[in-house]
């Protein structure tokens, strides 16, 4: 009996070791451990043994079965791993064969700059106002403290639209008329920015386009001061450009603000970038917007968006931004 068991065990282990596929292993399993296999038969024969032998013999059979089962499990894991390895090896894909589609669409550079600016000002507590691009002369000039004969009007090379009485309708030369529209429709406190498209009768060149974009800011509340203006410009400078940038105000002149200033940004290399204009809203402008300058005060600021995009990305010629050439658009 013992010899037969030992032989069955040895043969079983040998068969397991010899199996080279999972299928072979499965037949080995049914042959060796199956009901008709030698070990099963040995187990079945235990009953015929005398009681005093039965116990040791049973243990020996169980050990033999466990040994074969363990070998089967090990071999099965090996063969499974090998089979997976072969499958994976055969499934190799060259991931650099990537086709160019799908591609994402790209926002225009001006849109990218505008949205970055909008997001910065939203973070500083501003909302966003919009207005028409074709404007009344009144909103574009007169309400901004530039009556019809005002000499400063000539500094805006205005394009007039044939609509209504001659000279009454213009393509807005700046985003400032939106200030008036906001004052007309909104009770203070007002904290808005007004990005948008503006128009000048200007020959296009590397740094000028007849159609371009500005961003205007307006704050009106009780007790707003020139110091608030300087502080807001500084807060914007740090929020938008970075903590290592700073700002300064220099006296200047605009008909719609007083005191007026230019604001410059000091870059980390120590050079100054002239960015835009600003000032305290002129009392005549507050009145035109229906507000009492003794009760309310405010400041406004504005600058060009296109130039900001141009300088950020080192675009050599502003006209390139408007060719709508996909080879340009997809660079950004």
């Amino acid at each position: 009996m013992n010899d037969a068991l030992a032989q069955a065990r040895a043969e079983g282990l040998a068969s397991v070791a010899a199996a080279t596929t999972l299928d072979e292993l499965r037949s080995v399993e049914s042959e060796v451990l199956g009901k008709r296999g030698p070990l099963a038969r040995a187990k079945a024969g235990l009953g015929a043994l005398p009681v005093e032998e039965r116990r040791d013999a049973g243990r020996a059979v169980n050990e033999a079965m466990a040994a074969v089962q363990a070998a089967l499990d090990t071999r099965s894991a090996e063969l499974n791993a090998e089979s997976r390895r072969v499958q994976l090896a055969s499934e190799r894909l060259d991931l650099t064969e990537a086709l160019t589609r799908p591609r994402r669409g790209h926002a225009h550079l001006v849109t990218q700059a505008t949205e970055r600016l909008e997001d910065t000002f939203i973070g500083l507590g501003f909302q966003i106002a919009e207005g028409p691009e074709v404007e009344t002369d009144w909103h574009n000039f007169e309400a901004l403290n530039m009556p019809p004969s005002h000499p400063a009007r000539s500094e805006w090379d205005t394009l007039f639209v044939e609509h209504g009485p001659a000279g009454s309708t213009v393509l807005r030369t700046h985003t400032s008329p939106v200030q008036i529209r906001v004052m007309e429709t909104t009770e203070p406190p007002i904290y808005v920015i007004m990005p948008g498209r503006v128009f000048r009768r200007d020959t296009p060149d590397a740094t000028h386009m007849p159609v371009f974009h500005q961003l205007e800011g307006l704050v009106i509340d009780r007790g707003i001061t020139f110091a608030d203006l300087a502080g807001t410009i500084e807060a914007f400078t740090k929020a938008f450009f970075g903590a290592e940038f700073s700002s300064r105000l220099r006296p200047s002149y605009f008909p719609f603000t007083e005191p007026s200033a230019e604001f410059d940004i000091r870059q980390p290399d120590g050079t100054w970038l002239e960015l835009g204009g600003c000032g305290m809203v002129h009392p005549n402008v507050l009145r035109a917007g229906g507000l009492d300058p003794e009760e309310w005060s405010g400041f406004a600021f504005g600058f060009g968006i296109d130039r900001m995009a141009k300088e950020r990305h080192g675009v050599g010629d502003l006209r390139d931004m408007y060719t709508n050439d996909i080879r340009f658009i997809e660079q950004f």
Binding site: R104, G105, A107, H108, T111, E118, I122, L124, G125, F126, Q127, I128, E130, E133, V134, E135, T136, S149, P151, E155, L159, V161, E162, H163, A166, T169, P189, Y191, D202, P210, V211, V219, D221, T225, F226, A227, D228, A230, T232, A235, R248, L249, R250, P251, S252, Y253, E258, P259, S260, A261, E262, M280, P283, S297, Y322, N324, I326, R327, I329, E330
Partner: protein
């Protein structure tokens, strides 16, 4: 405005620290565009006389020049210029000299013969652009002397100021000196000559016909004049300030203008008909040849200076006429100093396209009460070259409507501080204002009574004075605070939805274009659109004279441009404004989205629409209706649908008419979508409400129908969905088939319905019932179930 440091220092002791002065100017709003140092001596460049010139047989482009640098030694230089001859005095850069461009002069050898230096052109000496030849100096120039001292050239610094419109005073050196002196705390020393009459009465009469446009006109007769070149110092200053020296009389006129910002004009009295002036409006069509030799034609809006016989001799405030110009024979002049109404001068100058030094000053407003000093200064300066100058009695000072000499404004110190966010004591305000001519007193109520200087016509309100205080206190010393906003910073819902639309489009691989909103007159017709757009009254070029009524021409051009650069499959969108004529105060301006998918047919545009609509939460509220031919000119009649949102027309989707594409030379097809964002983004989407996701298994039914080409798939699908009822989880069109087995004019539409119940597993009977209902509904629409 070019301002000289030496000149400023004559008016106020500002010193020679250029950086300090330049910073002060910038901090005062006199923006310094550039600072240049002029007239710096070049050590090593001396004056020398040409002894003789000799060609060299082996050198064509250079010759040998022998010079004497004052000590009798015969020096030799090779020279590439040939414009000198024996006896000329020329600048010699001796060996070892460093030239202004950094070049060092060595003992150069040509053909084995050394050069003892280099003869210089004006450009090489940093004196202008003349490269043409060697600078030939006056024959009596002493030899062997450093060039600049031999010529009497002085060193100076020129500030190029970019002046704002509110600073007419800074168009004169005196105004700049006053501002900077106040900032630096040094006194102002203005010239204060007095006018002494030295001859018998001789009157140049003045008749102001238009007192509204001519507020003051002073005329004085000066005789004993000898016209000749100005003294070198004056010629040098004028040159450095950007004006060409002409003769002593014209130069003094310009000098007074540059110093005091008081433009003036000297007329040859002998050429002045009737010996006097008449200031009147022009007659329509009247002409005058101005000093620049151009014949100008006037309208009744223009103000002319005429002689007493009513012949035009000058455009008031703009430019004089050529007939009355000072000439070499002139001995007697009538000096005019006038104040003309600024807006009138500006409009005449603008209409004629003439921007003269005078008009720039008149437009901004000169000081009408500075005229007396300017007349005296003119005489004082002219007398330096004309010692026999006679000032005749009989000066005429004619007046029209003139701004008052004394203008006052009340300024509340607490208002100053409230607006500036500062804490400036009232006495300091007085101290800041005084030196710039805003003399002020503090009244018993604590209010500043401020007299506005006549040279600052831009100032009239309290806030104007507040700005002056801020400038002189210094913007940089004012505080920086951040206002406490009680407003929540955010995008409006409309703006947030616009950004969402952009995100969807980027995700679909569509890039943003920004075409020009200006069109050429034929562009709308070319795009198949109504040709009536708003015209621009004063376009820069005809190609940009119409405002677009549609985004089509612009995007078509963008697609064509890319196609012509071998990118014929671009996907572009634009979000921009269109402008249509309307009877309202402003034109009908709308914000529109347009999408162009090059190389794709009309069906490709529909999923773009669907994604945009779904993202906006409007999926159930937007439908498309295929148009009848000719409903949408410019678009493909069989491949275009109108888009309706809540039943309102909001755009079109489909394909561009191939005929239009031909005119733009766009190859292939062009899928097109146009959506009125002004309307669509204003629609409030319903907030999506939660529907429990079923835990029970779903069942799919595939149904294929044969339908005529004129039966919209959208309608069949809607009918199926309605019939399937609440067990329907999803329905999609998953296959369209035309061809073998399907009659021509028909196609097969295959739909997949996914059914699911929220509370039980569907029975076969339930599924079969939905199937029958769906088939019945499709059949009712005119579709036939395929394969039965």
């Amino acid at each position: 405005m070019l301002v000289l440091l030496s000149w400023l220092n004559e008016l106020a002791p500002l010193g020679d620290d250029v950086d300090t002065i330049s910073d002060a100017m910038n901090e005062l709003g006199l923006a310094v565009d550039g600072v240049s140092r002029v007239g710096a001596p070049i050590p090593g460049v001396v004056t020398a006389r040409v002894i003789e010139t000799q060609p060299h047989a082996d050198a064509e482009r250079v010759h040998r020049v022998f010079v004497d640098a004052g000590d009798g030694e015969r020096l030799h230089v090779w020279c590439g210029a040939f414009n000198m001859q024996a006896g000329d005095v020329v600048p010699l850069a001796t060996v070892g000299t460093t030239m202004p461009d950094g070049r060092e002069i060595g003992r150069r050898q040509i053909l084995g013969i050394a050069s003892d230096g280099m003869l210089c052109s004006a450009a090489e000496l940093g004196q202008g652009a003349d490269h043409a030849g060697i600078l030939i100096l006056p024959a009596d120039t002493p030899l062997g002397r450093p060039l600049h001292s031999a010529l009497g050239v002085t060193e100076d610094v020129v500030f190029d100021l970019d002046l704002t419109r509110n600073r007419p005073d800074a168009y004169g050196h005196l105004g700049v000196a006053r501002d900077v002196a106040a900032r630096l705390g040094v006194p102002l020393l203005p010239p204060s000559p007095t006018l002494a009459v030295t001859g018998p009465e001789r009157v140049a009469t003045v008749e102001i016909v238009d007192p509204g446009r001519c507020g003051r006109f002073v005329a004085v007769v000066l005789s004993g004049i000898e016209v000749k070149p100005s003294a070198p110092w004056m010629a040098e200053r004028l040159t450095r300030a950007g004006m060409r020296p002409i003769n002593n009389v014209v130069d003094v006129s310009n000098y007074v203008m540059l110093e005091l910002n008081e433009p003036n004009h000297a007329y040859d009295l002998d050429t002045l008909g009737g010996g006097g002036f008449r200031i009147r409006r022009a007659v329509d069509g009247e002409t005058l040849v101005t000093l620049d030799g151009v014949e100008r034609t006037f309208t009744t809006e223009d103000l002319l200076i005429c002689d007493a016989e009513d012949r035009a001799i000058g455009i008031a405030g703009v430019m004089g006429g050529s007939d009355t110009e000072i000439g070499p024979e002139t001995t007697t002049v009538a000096l005019e100093m006038a104040w003309f109404e600024p807006v009138g001068v500006a409009s005449t100058a603008a209409r004629l396209g003439v921007r003269s030094e005078a008009s720039a000053r008149f437009e901004r407003g000169r000081d009408p009460y500075g005229i007396d000093r300017a007349v005296a200064r003119f005489v004082e300066l002219l007398r330096e070259t004309c010692p026999d100058l006679v000032v005749h009695a009989g000066l005429v000072d004619a007046r029209g409507d003139l701004p008052p000499e004394v203008r006052a404004v009340r300024v509340r110190p607490e208002r100053v501080n409230a607006l500036l966010g500062a804490d400036i004591p009232a006495p300091e305000m007085l101290a800041r204002l005084g030196p710039i001519g805003f003399t002020a007193t503090l009244d018993q109520g604590g209010i500043l009574d401020v007299n506005l200087p006549s040279w600052r016509p831009d100032c009239e309100l309290e806030v104007d004075v507040i700005e002056e205080i801020a400038r002189h206190v210094g913007y940089e010393t004012l505080g920086r605070t951040v206002p406490k906003s009680t407003v929540a910073g955010r995008l409006s819902p409309f703006q947030a939805r616009r950004r969402l639309v952009r995100q969807v489009l980027y995700g679909l691989g569509i890039s943003e274009a920004m075409p020009n909103p200006f069109l050429a007159p034929g562009d709308l017709t070319r795009a198949g659109l109504d040709p009536h757009g708003l015209a621009i009254a004063n376009p820069l070029v005809a190609e940009e004279s119409v405002l677009r009524t549609s985004l089509r021409p612009g995007l078509f051009k963008a697609v064509a441009f890319n196609a012509s650069h071998r990118n014929d499959d671009v996907a572009l969108f634009e979000i921009g404004h269109t402008y249509r004529p309307a009877e309202t105060p402003l034109p009908d301006e709308r914000e529109v989205l347009a999408v162009a998918l090059a190389g794709r047919d009309g069906q490709a545009a529909v999923p773009v629409l669907n994604e945009v609509v779904a993202a906006l939460g409007l999926a159930g509220r937007v439908r498309i209706d295929q148009v009848v031919p000719a409903d949408q000119p410019g678009l493909h009649p069989g491949r275009t649908a109108r888009i309706h949102a809540d039943g309102v027309d909001v755009g079109v989707v489909g394909e561009v008419d191939p005929g239009v594409l031909d005119t733009y030379e766009i190859p292939g097809r062009l899928a097109w979508l146009e959506l009125d964002l002004s309307t669509v983004l204003a629609l409030e989407p319903a907030i999506p409400q939660w529907r429990p996701v079923s835990r029970f298994p779903s069942s799919d039914i595939d149904l294929a129908f044969v339908a005529g080409e004129d039966l919209a798939a959208q309608d069949v699908q809607a009918a199926i969905a309605a019939a399937a009822g609440e067990l329907l989880a999803e329905v999609e069109l998953f296959d369209v088939y035309r061809g073998s087995g399907i009659e021509s004019g028909q196609r097969s539409l295959a739909f997949r319905l996914r059914l699911q119940s929220a509370d039980h597993t569907l029975t076969d009977a339930e599924v079969a019932q939905v199937r029958d209902q769906a088939i019945a509904a499709a059949t009712e629409q005119g579709a036939t179930l395929r394969g039965v």
